[in-house]
């Protein structure tokens, strides 16, 4: 298939997954802020979504205070913020327009309908019912995934869509888990208390893992087990290991030859997760481990670009 088409499909999937996960991140911050009423702490929580999406600087350039209302506006409906949900939906649609030939009618209608509906959401609606908005974003993403599974020919095109989804999801799950680091670090006294419990369970709920946790561990919420589930569980579909397992399989299928660097990189990252022990991760530091992981999959994304989408011929060519 055309390199540009592959690139558009891959980015289409990444932007949809990113919009969903941004909704999840904001949802964690919002849920946590509902319990944490201590002065100073409530505000600090709203730094987390900005820190993990790397948008603190642009935010501060346009908004005055880091608080629920302003962060929600910035991350959900601000068209000038390239990381916002509305900007992701727009990018997804632009990529979809370029590859309509490869999408089924139903897939296109989900993307286009999402974009049209999103433009009707007002700031007032968002602030009145933030969770309703996040749920809607997640539903649209689920719908797209379902329609894709249910209608799309399982061709190379479908593989590039899946590749984009899993890579973005791995990246995002790592960032969501890192929220914990950003929120909790200053208040060690909270560890083991009710607030701590609530914050870890909010992280679980944000990746739809609360019930899974209970079923797998049959135990109270503990940070080390939450991390184990989200990093190393091979059957939980949003865990890093599960995502990288699929990324590796897809690349194995798409690889130009068995010695391709892109395959080696994917295999290396997958093996590190496949054979990791959670206590070793915590000894080295969870935040440090996640930072290293993000650096590695960023390198993999670069290699995917060079292998399939080709290095740009002109200086201003862009992968997105």
């Amino acid at each position: 298939m055309l390199s540009r088409t592959a690139s558009n499909l891959y980015w289409l999937a990444r932007f949809i997954e990113r919009a969903e996960n941004t909704a999840r991140v904001l949802d964690v911050a919002y849920r946590v802020s509902l319990v944490n009423k201590e002065p100073g702490v409530a505000e600090r929580e709203w730094f987390a979504p900005l820190n993990i999406t790397g948008t603190l600087f642009p935010f501060q350039g346009n908004y005055s205070v880091v608080c629920a209302e302003q962060v929600l506006s910035f991350m959900a409906l601000d068209r000038d913020n390239p990381a916002s949900i509305i900007a992701c939906a727009h990018q997804a649609r632009e990529n979809a327009r370029a590859v309509r030939v490869h999408l089924t009618t139903e897939m296109w209608e989900v993307i286009n309908g999402t974009w049209l509906e999103l433009q009707r959401f007002s700031e007032q609606q968002l602030h009145a019912h933030p969770s309703t908005f996040f749920d809607w974003v997640k539903e649209r993403s689920h719908l797209f995934r379902g329609v894709t599974r249910g209608t799309m020919h399982r061709s190379e095109a479908a593989q590039f869509l899946r590749l984009g989804s899993f890579l973005e999801r791995a990246d995002n799950t790592a960032r969501i888990l890192d929220v914990k680091y950003h929120i909790l670090l200053p208040s060690l006294g909270d560890v083991g208390r009710a607030v701590d419990y609530y914050q870890w369970s909010a992280v679980l709920r944000s990746v739809s893992a609360f019930e899974t946790y209970k079923r797998v561990y049959r135990d109270v919420i503990s940070p080390i087990k939450v991390a184990e589930l989200l990093l190393l569980n091979e059957d939980f579909p949003r865990s890093l290991q599960a995502c990288l397992h699929d990324v590796y399989e897809i690349i194995e299928d798409l690889a130009p030859h068995p010695r391709a660097e892109v395959l080696r990189l994917a295999g290396e990252i997958y093996s590190r997760l496949r054979f990791a022990r959670i206590d070793a991760v915590f000894e080295a530091g969870l935040h440090e481990y996640l930072t290293d992981f993000l650096r590695r999959i960023n390198g993999l994304a670069g290699e995917i670009h060079d292998t399939y989408f080709r290095p740009p011929l002109t200086a201003d060519a862009d992968t997105a």
Binding site: M1, L2, S3, R4, T5, A6, E94, R97, A98, R100, V101, E109, N112, W115, Q119, E156, F160, L254, P256, Y308, R310, L313, A317
Partner: protein, 470 residues
């Protein structure tokens, strides 16, 4: 004022035979059924209409082209005669294109002034002595037909470069069959849905390597082009890749597309980009839509472009008056379809006549299209006519004039009332190893009362076109 031909009704008010089934059906519908169908049509079309978008910046202001539910109907025998005339015309036009880029016999025979061809900016010297597969230049031709007050069909213009609109023809039919299946069950209406298959067939037949399974692509300027939907639609219907200039590269005068598995050779390019933009090394150097080296590969015969480079010379409005002469010269036949009488303002006698009769005439730029920059005398103010007169006097050779034709009318819904509105018709002809056309085309309708301008860029709408199979 001459009389206006009504496609549905006789001058005495009775319905014409081929519109009778539609008329009976309309009269048997309860008033609210028609209204409900109109609402359903609106709703359905808005959904499909997303795809008819004219894409705007940012927020995506997307316009629909108005669709009218009352069809433009032809009798089978009448259509068959038109089809023969259209085929005759495109054969002659292709022969003309081959001739003027080779021996130029028609010029040597003095059938049309040489400077009109060789001095024309649409004549591409780069194409002289270039051989194209089967000698076909215009593989896809859209010939605009109108019916005047005398009931006769005339060719209004030939579109031989990158004619558009065929996706509307297909979508209009799909919509009508969805809304009114019973009308299609009652009478035998010739199909148009196989157009993409015929197009693919045509493109295959002009592959330079003559292989069984040539690689064919559709080259689009990209998603911001107003016809992008049509490009994507046709590529999808034919199952071929939709490429942009950046997806193609040339090496040793062979064209390749960049795929995830490396370079793949391309045999035929159905290009929807103008000549000027296809190759920055040969034509406009600032073009970012084209492919460097494409023209070299083309001239070497390693890739086929459809349509060929340089077809614009044959649909130039100053060449148009000579098409009947081409038919006689190349085919030794009398033209089946009539031309509209045309004054060339480069001729002093024609210029004098036209300047005296501006309020009655239509004046156009010889190389204009899309209904831009024309003067419709009877609909213009004195000031507009005087301003146009000054433009003509500046460069008379750039203009042609024609009598104001009273285009025929078809009933059209305006609110819940049927009102007569002017129409034209663009059938699409496909030229490869044979000439093919589907029975129908794109009917364009001027939605404003009395308006003669049917171009969608000027607020025109569209209708389904039926050819009855009898």
């Amino acid at each position: 004022m001459s009389q206006i031909y009504n496609e549905m009704f006789q001058p005495d008010g009775s319905v014409r035979a081929h519109y009778k089934p539609l008329q009976d059906w309309l009269q048997n519908q309860p008033a609210d059924r028609i209204e409900q169908d109109r609402l359903a049509a609106d709703l359905l079309f808005r959904k499909v209409g997303i795809t008819f978008a004219v894409y705007g910046e940012g927020a995506g202001t997307e316009r629909l082209i108005p669709f009218d539910m009352l069809p433009h109907i032809f009798e089978g025998a009448q259509w068959d005669r038109l089809a023969r005339g259209l085929e005759q015309r495109v054969v002659a036009l292709n022969r003309f294109l081959h001739d003027i880029y080779h021996a130029q016999e028609i010029l040597r025979a003095g059938k049309l002034p040489a400077e009109l061809v060789t001095g024309n900016s649409q004549f591409r010297p780069e194409m002289v002595d270039v051989d194209v597969p089967l000698g076909i230049y215009s593989h896809i031709a859209g010939i605009d037909l109108v019916r005047a007050g005398d009931g006769e069909h005339y060719v209004l213009e030939d579109n031989l470069r990158t004619p558009s609109g065929v996706s509307y023809m297909l979508e209009n039919r799909r919509m009508m069959m969805r809304l009114y299946p019973e009308l299609f069950a009652q009478q035998s209406i010739r199909p148009v849905e196989h157009y993409p298959d015929l197009l693919l067939d045509t493109l295959r037949s002009v592959s330079p390597r003559g292989n069984e399974d040539p690689t064919i692509v559709l080259l689009t300027p990209g998603i911001y082009n107003s016809a992008y939907f049509e490009h994507a639609f046709l590529a999808q219907q034919m199952g071929i890749e939709l490429v942009e200039g950046q997806d193609l590269v040339t090496e040793d005068r062979v064209v390749y597309m960049r795929t995830t598995r490396g370079l793949r050779r391309v045999d035929v390019i159905y290009r929807r980009i103008d000549d000027d933009f296809i190759d920055p090394q040969v034509f406009r150097a600032d073009s970012v839509l084209g492919v460097a080296g494409l023209f070299d590969a083309y001239r070497a015969g390693n890739v086929t472009l459809a349509n060929a480079v340089g077809t614009g010379i044959a649909d130039d409005k100053s060449i148009y008056p000579y098409v009947p002469e081409m038919i006689r010269f190349y085919l030794g036949e009398e033209p089946i379809l009539k031309n509209v009488h045309t004054w060339l303002l480069r001729r002093p006698d024609d210029l004098a006549y036209v300047l005296e009769h501006l309020p009655e005439l239509v004046v156009k730029e010889a190389q204009g299209s899309g209904g831009y920059g024309m003067l419709i005398g009877p609909c213009s103010s004195k000031a507009e006519i005087e301003a146009y007169r000054r433009r003509i006097l500046d460069a008379p050779e750039r203009f042609i004039a024609q009598p104001t034709l009273d285009l025929s009318v078809v009933p059209t819904f305006v609110g819940d009332q049927q009102q007569p509105r002017h129409v034209d018709l663009r059938p699409f002809l496909l030229c490869g190893d044979k000439i093919q056309l589907v029975a129908g085309g794109l009917t364009r309708v001027a939605m404003k009362e009395g308006s003669l301008v049917v171009n969608s860029s000027q607020g025109g709408g569209v209708k389904d076109t039926w050819v009855l199979d009898r």
